[in-house]
Symmetry: C2
Subunit: 345 residues, 2 copies
Amino acid sequence: MTYKEIEINQDIVLRPRLLTGDRPTGKLHLGHYVGSLLNRVALQKIYDTYIIIADVQALTDHFDHPLHIVANVIEVAKDYLSVGIDPHFSTIFIQSQIPEIHELATYYLNLVSLARLERNPTLKAEIQDKGYDRSLPMGFLCYPIHQAADITIFQASCVPVGEDQIPMIEQANEIVRRFNRTYNTQCLKICQAHLSSTSRLVGIDGVAKASKSLGNAIFLSDTPDIIKEKVFQMYTDPLHVRVTDPGRVEGNVVFSYLDAFCQDSQKEELEAWKAHYRKGGLGDTFLKTALNDILQERFAPIREKRNALRDGEVWEIIKEGTKRARHVAQCTMEEVRKAMGLRYF
Amino acid sequence: MTYKEIEINQDIVLRPRLLTGDRPTGKLHLGHYVGSLLNRVALQKIYDTYIIIADVQALTDHFDHPLHIVANVIEVAKDYLSVGIDPHFSTIFIQSQIPEIHELATYYLNLVSLARLERNPTLKAEIQDKGYDRSLPMGFLCYPIHQAADITIFQASCVPVGEDQIPMIEQANEIVRRFNRTYNTQCLKICQAHLSSTSRLVGIDGVAKASKSLGNAIFLSDTPDIIKEKVFQMYTDPLHVRVTDPGRVEGNVVFSYLDAFCQDSQKEELEAWKAHYRKGGLGDTFLKTALNDILQERFAPIREKRNALRDGEVWEIIKEGTKRARHVAQCTMEEVRKAMGLRYF
C-alpha cells in the first residue's frame, strides 16, 4: 500500500493522530524497545502515527557535532523499521526538513515568559543534569517551546510520554490555549499525554537507566557476541559471592531484564528462579545464560530484518514520510498565519 | 527597469549589500525621515539595499495586536516610496514571508547563552523601558538572535544603526564568528555598523525623541492642518513668557526642528533668529510660523507622492521585493545547511 492509497482510504486517514520520536544521538537500545518502540508498534494501528527524528532538538545540546547527529538519522530509522514500525501506518520524518516547525516556534516564543520556562520541572532537572549554569544555550532553554511546535503543527491529539515528560505536554497545551485565545481561533489542538505503563529499563551497570550516553545499554543492532558479552557484564548482587549464598532479586539487573523480556509462558519458571535465588543455590551464570538465550532468540529476527534493509530503501521511506509530514505542517501553518492575519499577497 | 534587468546588470548586483528596516507599528514620522530615511535614499545608490518590514519582530511585543502590525505594513512601504526609496535600487520585503529567517534563527539559538543575551546593554535597557520583569516573553528576549538572522541571511555587509544599536551588531558578528568556527565554513559574513551622523529628532513635547508610541511625532502622511497644529503645540521655553523676554534656544523644540529642516540657504537667517531669540524680542509665533512654512514646503511633494500611490502598485512592489529577498535567503540557508551537514536527500 502506498501513501496515495492511504490518503484515499478515509478509515485510516481519520484515525486520531499521535506524535512521538527520538533524538538521533545514537542507535536505539533495549530501553527504547520496552519503553517506547513496542508501544508504538501497537499504537500505529489505532493512531495515525507521526514519528519525528528530532535532529534539530538533538543539536540544542550537540550543536558542535552535527555530523554525529546526521549520521544517526538513518540508524534510528532502521531501528524503527526492524522492530515493526510500518511505514504504511507510521510517517517517519526528519525534523530539520520541516522548516514550518521553526516558523511556528518563533510565534510561540512570544507566548511564553522566561519565568514560565524556568519553572518547567523537566527542563530544570535537565539543565541541572547537564551542568549548564550561566552557559545555558538559548536553544536548550527554548526546546520545550520548539517541542510544542512539533506536537501542534501535526495536530497530534496523543503523545506517548514517560511520567517525567508530563510538564512538556502541559507547556504545549498552555501555548495552544493562549494562542487560540489570543488569535480567536480553534486552529490548534490540545494533546493528551499517553502514559507508558512500562517502567524504565535499567542499564547493565545497574547504576542508572539504560542510556546511549552512559554506554550501559544493549543496542538493537548489537551482534550476538556483543549481546552475550553485555549480559555477562551485568551487575547482579555483590553479596551473592558463592552460588549457595542467598541473593537479592530487587535491584539485580539480570532479573530486571528477565522481567522485561520473558515471554508469558516463561513467567512461572521465572518466579521459581527468583525464589531459588533468594534462598541460595542458583548461580549468576545460570541466570545470565538463560537471559542471553532469551535475548538472542528475541532479537535475532529484528537484527536480521535490520541487516537486510538497504540504505536506499530506508532513505526512500524517510523521504516519503518527510514529504507527507511537511504537507501536514504546511496546512497547519497556513491556518496559523490566517488566524494571526499574516497573509499579505 | 525591472528586477530581471537588474539581475543581468552585474554592476548593480555586485554592490555591497545593506540591510535596514522598520517595525511596522505605525506610520513613519519626521524622526525616521532625518534619522534614517534620508540616509537610505542616499545609500541605495551605493549599496544593494534590502529593507525589511519587520512584522515578526514587531509581534515580539505586540503579539496580541497582529492586525495593527499587518495594517501598517503597506503604510510603512508607502512612506518609503514617498521619500524616494526606489524599488529599482532597494528591495522592500516583509519579514514574516521569509520563513528561512526563522530556520536560521533556530540554529543561532544554540550559539548564544542566556547569560550573554542578558548582558546585551541595548536589550537590557529595552527590557527595563518596557517594564518586563518576570513576564519577559521569550520572543522579546530572543529578538537580538532573530535580528542576527535577518542581517546575516541577506549577507549584509553594512547595517545603518544609531549608536545605541551597536551591541546588536556585535551580537550578530559574535554569532557569525561562532557559526563559521563551529561548522568550519565562511558562509556567513561579518557586518559593519554604519553610524548615522544625525542626532535623534526630539518629540513635539520636548520630553523624549519623536516616537509613534508616545504620540509626539509629526508623520510623513500628516495633512497640512495637522502639521500646523503640531508645530503650534511645540514646547519652546517656559520662561519665555513675553516676546521681550530672553529665550533659550537649547532644548527648544522649535529650534531643534529648524536645525533639522532648514535648507543650507536658510542657515544664516536661522543663526540670526537664534541670536535674536536669546536676546529677547522674537516671538514663538513668528518662529512657529516660519517652521510651519518650511515643513509644509518640504513635505507637500512627499505627501502628494504618497497620496498618488495606489495600493495595488505598492503591494506589487512589496511582493516582488519579498520574492527577491526570499531567493537570497534560500541561497544562504542552503549554504548554512550544507555547512552543518543537514542535507539528507
